[in-house]
Symmetry: C2
Subunit: 400 residues, 2 copies
Amino acid sequence: MGASAIREILKVVAQPGMISLAGGIPAPESFPLELIGALTETVLTRFGSAALQYDRTEGFAPLQAALADRLGTRGIQAAADEVLITSGSQGTLDAIGKLLIAPGDSVAVEAPTYLGALQAFSPYEPEYQTLETDDDGLIPESLEEVLKHKRVKFIYLVPTFQNPTGRSLPLSRRRKVAALIQRHDALLVEDDPYSELRYRGEPLPSLKSMAPGHVVYTSTLSKVLAPGLRVGYVLAPEPIARWLVIVKQGVDLHTSTFSQALAAEYIAGGHLDRHLPKILDFYRPRQEAMLAALDEYFPREFHWSKPDGGMFIWAEGPDALNTDELAHACIRRCVAYVPGRYFYPGAGQGLGTMRLNYTMTDPPTIRNAIRIVAEVFREAQSAARGGEAQSAEYGGAAPG
Amino acid sequence: MGASAIREILKVVAQPGMISLAGGIPAPESFPLELIGALTETVLTRFGSAALQYDRTEGFAPLQAALADRLGTRGIQAAADEVLITSGSQGTLDAIGKLLIAPGDSVAVEAPTYLGALQAFSPYEPEYQTLETDDDGLIPESLEEVLKHKRVKFIYLVPTFQNPTGRSLPLSRRRKVAALIQRHDALLVEDDPYSELRYRGEPLPSLKSMAPGHVVYTSTLSKVLAPGLRVGYVLAPEPIARWLVIVKQGVDLHTSTFSQALAAEYIAGGHLDRHLPKILDFYRPRQEAMLAALDEYFPREFHWSKPDGGMFIWAEGPDALNTDELAHACIRRCVAYVPGRYFYPGAGQGLGTMRLNYTMTDPPTIRNAIRIVAEVFREAQSAARGGEAQSAEYGGAAPG
């Protein structure tokens, strides 16, 4: 339901003249468009017809090898054949749902959490256990509480530059979470699409590197190459890995070989290492512009996340300020965002919250958009205060 | 289980020196490899970064339009936005299973049938109703019997050049099946990957064109472009079409935009029309070589399908001649095929049957392979006769 509400917003957003802070997609300027022709040539020369043929469900071997190398530099030890290629992260999440969730099983998720994960899991009819979060992401004590009292099938977490909040779990909390899942012998799905989009600060270790036997690690090339290729990957402990392959075979046989071959060349040829800094230099000023504009314009009652990377900022205001209703007023003034309530698994939460995306809009336009949203919010607040004042007046003068 | 047995066979087949009649894949020589570079250039010029970006779940609009045009020439009327793009036919079959099958629901399938369909459906725990077939494919009376006594969720059929048998439903049976599903208000999934691989004879109308409101039609570009792109498509009556989109969104968001853009250019640019005759000219002599070799070498107790197209010939011998056991003897002599029993939903059927693929092997090698298989079978038959004779002898001379 949340997903379809967001689809409606995104349709409105596609109208000309609209400034969208609503999307969750990379800027087209971040794609290595000028490389694709040369990559295609290399792929055809190197792999020939194999790049167009059916391939193993596990993945195109040269891509598995390139990703295993790259994961090594990020502190995750994996043999090439342990890296399974999926049709985007969504492909991983669906396979995990299909494999692990029987109707009524408990799945623990942050609130708010990534909507696409709920969409992937919900058809398998889990019961969601909600984990509490604050400005530093998941509160470990909340996870401990759930693990103590519930048998959860798995915990789903986006620990770095989360969607929708942009928040990252600090090292101390990562240690606690890793210890907790080991102590309770629990399984955690670590969804990590954004960690390479770091604009400042030091990388944080993945949970996978801290508790490898208890973590299914999934990531994607959507943010560092191109989402249209639909290439993701997953590292899972046995026997889950073996079963994920069997599930995937029934779902799509394998991921596009041609997409995988392009990705393999992009990584192994050193293009990703050369291109990634350009993506970061492109996004960093957009994020800084949004943070500065929020400081400059947003009502004092709001506070927001200040991430070191990723694609989103999360703003929280008073519940009375219903961001869902006000989204319509903003759209009338040609600015769109996603109301935060849709990212909560349960109803009635996050009424005063919102997700703001900065990847698709240039800095001056971001500044202008935040100014407009702030104006709409202020007007709503003063109308509400006027209404209160009025109703107090009328209350006083009520016929009785 | 059948699938994993076949995977084992295909692993053996990958060994050097092995002649494979076991695969079910197009010859790499059939791919328009020399076009891919130019298609990539056109795609990048025409669509730019949109070819690398997230796209609508329904499909890349230019591909939807190109396929709608093409379906029109095959007697299937469809608007562009009714043609939904999937990640290969497998993507369609999985989405259909997820959408339509609740545990215990009846799904009617031919025996033998396409294994990938069983693999896609079985995780949703249907009960299979087996439909009888003969040399002309599905026997309509068998379908009528099932529809009279069972509420089936849907019927799954490959009516043209079926996998594994190569058989096609003749026009008169198509009319009966179309009338039956309309009379019983039943839903039929028509899987049509092979009908464009026609080496002789006139095209047969699709069931979709005869009973559009009762048929989900699915096809693929795997056999006429390249399977590695993982592009299939589906046409479904409402509300199934709308729900398939929602299901697909949770499974993989959308099919690779880049693959879809290449496919759109391949079709709309007239390349498919120019390339398809080359594929047919490449496969036709291979099929003729296999049919001739079967005539020349195979034991008289066998009979086999004589399809006008597709990728397979189905041979049936006496049950006593266990093709599963004899497959090992053939592999020792460096020839592989798939024993037919794996294509039956139930156990103990088709013990004397086998699927023979001719797309991957050149005519002289096909002739040689069929000769070897025939020899192995003859040796087994005469050993069995010898054994019988022997056991009769020993039986006669038995003590007691």
